[in-house]
């Protein structure tokens, strides 16, 4: 088991290398460069700029230099569009906001989603099930960029209950975390219900009931573990989706997170920043997926991974 976990985590390194290499060459193949959009710059200035950012050498030399600098010095280089700031600095400053928003939203999603789904499954086909799933479906069906403006208008601008923007005290965090987490909570509730309905009809649950365990114990001790399988499978992509989805939330609530660099860097052709954002995003998603696979194995002994 431990050897599997280690191997699975080590696999992250070659995968990450493939992604980074692919993106490195792709962004350079796309027409246009980091200095094309500004007013015409003199040839000499452009040459100095290209030398400074290591863009004048052939692409494979640039790649070698970039990789060596990253591996040996953990340095992602300077940004090409934000004067005097390094990529590492931008990520250090912006990542904590995104991580807090994403982490809290995921936590909220789990705390709402799993109990709601399990509850609905135990009351299968009753009015309570329909109400719970109605709530979950509303959560799935209302886009974040509709939900967030409506909540801001009602709670902030009309009732003055919560601040409408920024990220300082817990009062600032309530609305963004809720708006970011609600769709994911609704997904999780639906998956948990589907998983629970599958498990609840299996033989080992009938056995557990037959030996006289209380319904509460049957659900919490025996069924829950199996019912969480679909939820666990969803967590990897769900969390990375949350990362991208919080882009909208960060923009609406004016939170200085990493989200905005994702779009800006690519459309500005800021090669170094693109690579930095891809690296952070890639590490997060790949490690999360590895952890999900390991959890999957832990939760369901029937699964053979070899």
């Amino acid at each position: 088991m431990i050897s599997y976990a280690v191997r699975r985590l080590l696999w992250v390194i070659p995968s990450l290398w493939v992604v980074l290499t692919l993106v490195f060459f792709l962004v350079r193949v796309v027409p246009g460069g980091p200095f094309d959009q500004e007013r015409q710059i003199p040839e000499e200035v452009r040459k100095v700029l290209e030398d400074y950012y290591d863009l004048s050498a052939p692409v494979h030399i640039q790649y070698k230099n970039w990789l060596v600098r990253l591996v040996l010095h953990q340095d992602l280089g300077p940004t090409m569009r934000y004067a005097n700031r390094s990529v590492g600095e931008i990520i250090r400053l912006s990542l904590p906001y995104s991580a807090q928003l994403g982490g809290l939203a995921a936590l909220l999603a789990l705390c709402i989603g799993v109990p709601l789904g399990v509850y609905a499954a135990t009351k299968h086909n009753t009015a309570r099930d329909h109400v719970a799933m109605g709530i979950a479906m509303t959560g799935v069906s209302v886009p974040r960029f509709v939900l967030a403006p409506v909540l801001i208008l009602v709670l902030s601008l009309k009732l003055y209950l919560l601040p409408a923007a920024r990220w300082e005290t817990w009062r600032h965090m309530v609305l963004p975390v809720f708006c970011a987490g609600l769709p994911m909570a609704a997904y999780i509730a639906r998956l948990a219900r589907a998983g629970m309905l599958e498990v609840i009809r299996s033989d080992f649950i009938r056995t557990a009931r037959a030996k006289g365990l209380s319904e509460r114990r049957v659900i919490l001790r025996h069924a829950l573990k199996g019912a969480l399988l679909p939820v666990v499978t969803f967590l990897g992509p769900g969390l990375s989706g949350l990362l991208v989805g919080s882009l909208v939330i960060e923009r609406i609530f004016n939170i200085p997170g990493m989200g905005r660099y994702l779009v800006e860097a690519a459309s500005n052709r800021d090669y170094n920043l693109v690579m930095g954002v891809v690296l952070v995003y890639g590490v997060l998603v790949m490690v999360l997926n590895a952890v999900v696979d390991i959890l999957y194995k832990l939760l369901d002994p029937r699964v053979t991974l070899e």
Partner: protein, 362 residues
């Protein structure tokens, strides 16, 4: 030969007393050459008419009909689809006809859903946007279904090295930052000089008057968005199918099927996948709203559907910007988007309950 045997067969019994299904089956059996042996037409018909002969799908349809929420959702979806097909064609306003003198007006008799900032009729725009939203959703979901089920089924069934390689590819694609991928795609290929645009012009040239017409360019960009979303939306499906296949393939019914000589292809698609249909359908119904959301999300960032075309996402995000002053511009597109997604979800849940073979006993 077969027709005469049918008339002999049916004339003694009174056909109008039979259930319609039985008649249909009898007709199907008798029309099939070779299914009815001369003179012995009765036994196959009689056997097929027994109640346990109903197929999984017919059974599922019967159960689905009992689920009022699912049926209501199907009806509402049908109404919206019909509206999207006919309203833009028969409306007295075009979706892109601006009336700057009119400007934004609230809903009225002339404009049932009001007008937008440029005085364009919102109802025409909402239904036209529906075409694009549905188009994106159905195309990408179909791609996700076809690729994801095959990929995940093969990986889960064969296991070992093949599984390792296939799922590693999925992992790598997962980590490809989707937004940057789409931006690259839009910038690199959605260019007037790109070879793809020439190919697009060649494809549409038989259907339009002039293939060099500039107004086709936004449609070309849209096709690129379709493809981009479709290419990435099968990943989760393949993981879910693989997970299901992994936990199903060690069960006795697969061993039984294998022991009577069923090949791997039939095992995956006729035994493993149908037994995993519950989660697959739940996920497919989650994919449709997800894809619609992705399109809306891209439009919100200015990368998806471009003006003067419209989609529910584009209209809703425009409306969200103006909601303090012109709330109807958010209300109608948001309502259509939410109701459509809501109905897909209800229908999917109904399908799940109807299709799950393990529920057949109760």
């Amino acid at each position: 030969m077969t027709t005469s045997s049918t008339s002999q067969n049916e004339s003694p019994e009174s056909p109008e007393k039979k259930e319609p299904e039985v008649v249909a089956l009898a007709e199907a059996a008798s029309l099939e050459p070779g299914a009815t042996a001369p003179g012995g037409a009765e036994p196959p018909v009689a056997v097929e008419a027994l109640p346990q002969g109903t197929s999984l799908w017919k059974d599922a349809y019967r159960r689905l009909k009992k689920n009022r929420a699912a049926m209501a959702s199907a009806v509402i979806l049908a109404v919206i689809v019909v509206g999207c097909i006919f309203v833009p064609t028969f409306s007295s306003y075009r979706y892109d006809h601006a009336n700057l003198a009119l400007g934004p007006t609230p809903p009225s008799w002339a404009h049932w859903m009001g007008t937008d900032f440029f005085g364009r009729d919102l109802m025409a725009r909402v239904f036209f946007g529906g075409r694009i939203s549905f188009g994106v959703a159905l195309t990408a979901t179909f791609m996700s279904f076809a690729i994801g089920v095959t990929w995940g089924g093969v990986a889960g069934y064969f296991g070992g090295k093949l599984d390792s390689i296939l799922m590693r590819i999925v992992d790598v694609l997962y980590t490809f930052p989707f937004l940057i991928f789409v931006i690259l795609l839009m910038v690199f290929f959605a260019d007037q000089k790109s070879p793809l645009y020439s190919a697009f012009k060649a494809v549409i040239s038989p259907f339009v008057e002039s293939s060099t017409d500039q107004s086709h360019y936004p449609i070309f960009q849209l096709v690129i968005v379709f493809a981009a979303i479709g290419c990435i939306s099968w990943l989760t499906m393949s993981r879910i199918v693989r997970g299901q296949v992994l936990s199903l393939k060690s069960q006795p019914f697969i061993e039984a099927a294998r022991s009577i000589g069923v090949g791997p292809g039939a095992l995956i698609f006729r035994h493993l996948v149908p037994n995993a249909l519950g989660p697959i359908i739940v996920y497919t119904t989650l994919t449709i709203p997800e894809v619609m959301m992705t399109e809306a999300f891209l439009s919100f960032l200015g990368l998806g559907t471009q003006e003067p075309l419209s989609s529910w996402g584009l209209l809703a995000s425009n409306g969200a910007d103006a909601m303090d002053y012109y709330p109807w511009q958010l209300f109608f597109p948001g309502l259509f988007l939410a109701v459509t997604l809501f109905c897909f979800n209800f229908l999917g849940d109904g399908l799940r309950d109807a299709l799950d073979p393990r529920m057949r006993k109760d």
